[in-house]
Every structure is written in C-alpha cells, then in structure tokens.
Amino acid sequence: MVKKISFLILSIAILVFGIIAFSKLSYWDRSVRIFKYSSNTPFESRMDRGLEGRESFVRPEMRELSDSMRAGFETREGRPGPGMRERNIPDSLRQQFRTRNGEQMGRGRFEGGIRNGEGRGRGEFPEGRKISIRNMKWFLAVFAFFTVIAIYIDKAICLIRKRYRTSD
C-alpha cells in the first residue's frame, strides 16, 4: 500500500512538473506551429530577423525625415548610406542624429559576425563554456508527463477490459 501511495505521489509530482514545463516551453504552440505555417507569415526567429528583415528595416530617425531628404540618404539597395559626415545636411539635423544615436554614430563594423562565418552561431558557446543542460530538465519533465499519462491510461484500459471479461 505504501509503495502504491508513494508511486501515486511521484506520478502527481511528475504531472505537475510536466504541466509547468508545458507552459514554460510553450510546448503546444511550438508543436502545432507547422500546421499554422503559411509562407506569407513573416518568420520571427533571431536569425532571420537579422538577415531577411534587414532589407525592409527603416531606422526611426529616417522615418521622421521627408521623402526627398530620405531619398538623399538612401544609397544602394534602399539602405541608409555609410555615415552622416559626408552628407550635405543642416547642422541642426546632424546634431539631432548625433545626440540620439550616441556612440552608435562612431560604431564600427558589426562585431557579432554572420552565421556561416567565424562568428558564434545559435547553440554555440563562448570558449570555455561547453556543457549546458539547463533546458533539458523541462524537456525531461514533458517526456515524463506523457509517459505517466500513457502508463495510467494503459492501466485503466486493462482494468476496464478485465472487468468486462469477468462480467461476461
């Protein structure tokens, strides 16, 4: 009896932990996302935001400018030009850009690198930090959740069948 009760408590704990993990990982949403997927929907992953979303991106400062002035800034492929220094713009506007962007004005090349380059990609760690299994416990919880449910449903079905047989 004690064994049965302890198993029951353990199962309830697994179920509770599983439900928490379910919401933590947004398990259901991510599982059925493929059925809701349409090619027109923009995909908002970190990686694709950085690469594909770049072309349509307009800096907030640029949005405030008139079309003609913005066209002057935009060079090849509709992207903003390399810098403000070389442009023929009023000093007040130049000052406005400088104060808003702060150090961004003088910032050099993006240091993060691109995915296929030498830069750190998704899932890779900085040198020296190799093992991380922080999310594994949530997946283990979901896995155990389904296992426990299957065990009890299986047991329930077996019990019902047995009762049917004995009544016949």
Binding site: N135, I149, I151
Partner: protein, 151 residues
C-alpha cells in the same frame, strides 16, 4: 538480446532529450552530428524488433490484438516524426554542409518543421515508453515475467 534492446532504448531516450535543445551539451555541432547518428540507432532499434514488425504488418487487418495495432500506428508516427526531424535538420544544418542535397523550401519553413516535428516526436516517445513500461520493469527485474510472456 533484451539487454541490448534495453540499453539501446535508454541511449536513444537520453540522446533525444539532449538533442531537444541545440544549446545543450556541446553546442550546435554536437546537435547536428548526434541528430544524424540517432537516426542510425533508431533504424537499429527497428531491426532488433523486426520480428514483431513483420508479424503485426502481416496480420494488421486480420488477427492482430488492438494493443499491438495501436503500438504499430504509434511506431509509424514515430518513424514519420524522426524522418521529418532529420530531413528538416539537414535542411537547416549549419556546421555540416548539406547544400548539395538541394532540399528546397524556405529556411523558415524547415525551422518550423524541425521544431514542431521534434516536439511532437518527443511526446510520441513518452507515450511509446509508457506503453512499454511493463517491459522496462521486467528488464530492471522489478516486475516478473508471467508465464514466459513479455510485454
């Protein structure tokens, strides 16, 4: 044979859990290589249970018990899930070059496919283990085998 099956299943389960998060363990390179290798182990798992597969396939619409039929359908879904997982993984691989395969489709589509198929497959894995729980307990000598009949 049962011991090999047991340890193989245990290995696949642990590997599957480690592979659920690409950031876990040794990063993306490990994720991609282990993802491919797990496919081989999955095939090995099927080969070891080939007798059962053959038996149920032949008698699926005839004299097959409901439980075996359900397990068979679940296994087919698992196979489909793992296949989709590996194909989508190949399509979005970064550390291994599979560009020569020309799988087509957008990267976004394959990413969503990879996430969804892996999440659904993990759930199926859990159910699969739950339905074979008695077999696991028998292997661990927690439950005795009744009349030489194994679950």
């Amino acid at each position: 044979m049962n011991i090999i099956k047991f340890f193989l299943s245990l290995f696949i389960t642990i590997a599957m859990l480690l592979l659920m998060d690409p950031r876990s363990f040794y990063g993306l390179a490990f994720h991609e290589w282990a993802g491919l290798i797990i496919g081989i182990f999955f095939i090995l798992h099927k080969i070891l249970n080939w007798k059962w597969i053959k038996k149920v396939t032949v008698g699926f619409f005839r004299n097959c018990p409901g439980r075996a039929r359900f397990n068979y359908v679940l296994d087919v879904l698992l196979l489909a899930g793992i296949t989709l997982m590996i194909i989508s993984g190949i399509a979005i691989a970064r550390t291994i070059d599979f560009s020569w395969l020309n799988l087509g489709g957008s990267r976004a589509f394959w990413r969503v496919m990879h996430t969804s198929s892996s999440f659904l497959t993990l759930a199926l894995f859990g159910i699969h283990l739950g339905l074979h729980w008695n077999w696991v307990l028998q292997r661990l000598h927690i439950k005795k085998v009744k009349n030489g009949k194994e679950n």
